[in-house]
Symmetry: none
């Protein structure tokens, strides 16, 4: 998406661009997009606020590029999984793993996405977020539904509600996950899958517990 009226960064210098976007993403994630000043980003990059406009059209444009880059890479991985012809359960597991890998590689972008997407979709510039969201929902929901159909997933769950729970469960991890921390993305994924697939309760023969006591509370 080169040149409009101003020349902008001469297409070259993409390394510096990436570097700047990286700084920006970290600040956006840490402070929130609205609360982040262009000056703050420039400070982090060791330049003056105005100088950023040599590389980017606007603050919004920086945000857009950060999110696009993240989503492009995410979908590459997702599409590979979805096109692999795996069983629903294995697909489910693979999607979770890829999600944690995306968090690992694009933590700031994921956090920004989580915090800001809702407001952003109101702007034309960020309509692509909506498209991604829709595609995302379709991928997960159909995986769940196929799983129910082939009896890999329980039939008594509302798939839409389950979808939301699972989706949030995965992505919210970006708020506390730290790359190079105790667990690799694959290990975190394993734990998550263990919980989501098999539950946290100890299994036993009597079904008593299967029906939580909430019923009597309503």
């Amino acid at each position: 998406m080169p040149t409009k009226k101003k020349p902008l960064a001469p297409v070259a210098a993409p390394a510096r661009r990436r570097e700047l976007l990286d700084k920006a993403a970290n600040v956006f994630a840490a402070v929130g997009y609205t609360a982040t000043t262009v000056r703050r980003i420039a400070d982090d990059a060791g330049m003056l606020a105005g100088s950023l406009y040599y590389y980017f059209e606007s603050k919004d444009a920086m945000l857009e590029e950060i999110l696009r880059t993240f989503l492009d890479e995410l979908w590459e991985a997702y599409d590979a999984v979805l096109d692999a012809g795996l069983s629903p359960r294995v697909t489910f597991e693979a999607l979770v793993v890829e999600s944690f890998r995306a968090i690992d590689r694009h933590r700031p972008a994921v956090e920004i996405y989580q915090n800001e997407a809702k407001q952003l979709v109101a702007q034309d510039r960020f309509l692509f977020l909506d498209a991604s969201q829709t595609k995302f929902e379709k991928a997960w929901l159909s995986t769940l539904e196929r799983g129910v159909a082939v009896k890999e997933f329980r039939a008594d769950l509302d798939t839409r509600v389950t979808y939301r729970f699972v989706r949030d469960t995965v992505w919210v991890a970006a708020s506390w996950y730290r790359p190079n921390g105790r667990y690799s993305p694959e290990e975190i994924a394993r734990q998550y899958l263990s919980m989501v697939l098999d539950g946290i309760a100890v299994r036993d023969e009597q079904q008593a517990h299967a029906e939580p006591h909430t019923r009597s509370r309503t």
Copy 2:
């Protein structure tokens, strides 16, 4: 909670205050705190921006009152559960139910909390969020640990990771839950508990699946 010098809304008129806080909370939740202008709140309330200051000291003060009100009510419910001497699993279930009830009653406040808490704790005025957070973690974590001890919860899960998983999943529901929607908070809680306690996978199959395929991927 009386104020410094200004009498402000003469202590009476608490109805109007609550009404205004309600409008404010909805805007804060929908648009984000920083992005919300007091003009916007005033517009929604049918008054001029300056008039809000008859009732509230500042925009921050509104936010504080919104969050305090929510947390106060949440802790009343939580404390009742925690002091009831229930088994870990029943405690867990009850906490989940109360959480969804809080979301039902204070959805905007919960959403604000989710989105803004991280930035807010840097301000003295919002240190109480940190205190609440700590107490919250203690309550959940100890419930999980007690559950593991008495073999109501699986011993092979990292309790801290499980805690985050549960915490996030529950509260993130505020972003999509709509009061008066299809499900009551208790019904949502039931579905959630069903998933979290027992997993979404169909049981009593071969144990092969218990070990997800991720291992072979790293």
Copy 3:
């Protein structure tokens, strides 16, 4: 100056008016007119800001009345002195004494006058300050000039410059004079007159000192 459109204080209740003006004058003097909020005055008077408008047309109107009252009383005393047919020197002394008495009785008003008059005269409402100022200058200047003419005052002083020094000398005392303090207004006047009339230097026969060393500095 009764009623314009609004009834205002029913002409009666002049005691309450005076009380309120007194509070107002003290705040104006202490904090400065612009920096004084109507709310602050009302607080001091134990009422709400809006309630002041039952008694006064506006904040400006309060200020006007405070200054008018002061100047009216000052001129009554000044006129008595000026009309008494006294010698220039005795007139001078009497004017100084009356000035300190005015400070004693209207300290806040004097302070306000000192601080604000310059800005106020730009407004029509306060043109009377200019008139008073002119009359004031005439009274003092002519006294000084008459004194020079009859050789009661030194002929080698620039009367305009001397006028300004004397004028300021007297009135600036309002900034530190405290009624009921160590000195009565008459005693302060005596000290001031002693300095201004006879100087603070010890008198001696040689005139050497009469010519300060500043000449060699220019």
Copy 4:
């Protein structure tokens, strides 16, 4: 005197800063600090209000710099005088001369000081005004007391009252003195000293007048 985070006017461009402070000082002096809007200062400088913040942290910061610059220069001159080992009377004369020179060079700052100092000292930022005030009083008072001790000044005057008298008279001159007017600062100082040291009354007359008529009035 570097600033917190913002580099502000990149340390260079001190000429523009001084120019702007000059405009600001004139407005502060003419209109009063509180009554001065930053828009007004910006107008005078031919820029927009917000642009001032490229050079200065705040309106307060401008005021501070104006007053500090003035006081720094004043104390340089005062200290030179005080350290010169002059007799009390010559010290007195020299301090007066330096005061009028300061008025000549920093008239707006002096006027601002006169009008605003009392309110400003309440703020931490302006505590240095208090320090200067204390040092100032010590310098003048000790000069007067030394003068009394060596019989250069009359012993029958209250030195504190005399101090205030002299202090006020000198500085209030800033309200009417106009640089490039009829008199140089040295000439004004000469006239002032003539009055204050020797009095305005014609000497060697009968002593009857030495005791003003006030006594009979109390």
